[in-house]
Amino acid sequence: MSEFSESLYAAYPLLGRNAILLDTNLMVVYTVACLDIYRIGRAKRTEAFTSTDGRRLLYLVSRFRRRRSTPAILAESFNLLEPFFKTLPPSESHRLQTAIREEIDLIEEHYVPAKRIAADDALLRYGFTDLAIASHADNETVIVTVDLPLIGLLEKRNLAVLNYNHLRTEILR
């Protein structure tokens, strides 16, 4: 896995934090990667990513001591993946369910009451999922996403956020 190693961490110091939180889109890619990275470019939901992204995400997440998420991210990811789940033969279905269960065991869920989110002036623009992420203010988590408007919101609120697409800017070269 040396292809993603030290230079990445030197270029993006936020990756050195203790905890990672993947936004919904990346959680979907990560979940498919847990089954088979070569399905990533072929599944409709993940066609904007490649097997290299799957390998990179598996590697990145494994380097963090703590993994965090929110109930909304997990629910959204699962809903988005439902059509994909239906395409799987029983053996792979079983393997993926086991992988998801093991992953969920490792995740610390960050719950924010809906009434707190609804009080946020940005509710109609960003919705519950993004604002729950935006309420995740601590000094040890890096939020990784490909959602440009969300990145803008998080940066404005001084949260540690990384655009995953920056990590794959090398494809431009």
């Binding site: 990513f49 490649t50 440009l148 940066e155 404005k156 655009n163 697409n165 920056h166 800017t169 494809i171």
Partner: protein
């Protein structure tokens, strides 16, 4: 069928043809829409300055452009400003 990598290259090539060798090009977004790739790139460019004397104090700002690229032909169909309202 154009790969993501090829689509990103086409977007970069188009950007450089229009703006010249701009600084610090980054990949910001990759999305698929019907038969097109939507690739957002950002880069650093000089901020427009009204006063001539300020021109010497060049200030760089990050600009965002979104490219629509045909997945079959690789043709760049459109380039728009990617606006971000926070």
């Amino acid at each position: 069928m154009l790969s993501i990598k090829d689509a990103a290259h086409r977007a970069r090539q188009y950007l450089v043809e229009l703006f010249g060798e701009v600084a610090d090009i980054r990949l910001e977004e990759v999305e698929s829409e019907e038969n097109n790739w939507l690739i957002t790139l950002s880069f650093l460019a000089n901020a427009p300055q009204e006063d001539a004397w300020i021109m010497t104090q060049s200030k760089m700002i990050r600009q965002y452009k979104i490219f629509t690229i045909d997945r079959d032909t690789g043709e760049v169909l459109a380039m728009r400003i990617r606006t971000l309202h926070v």
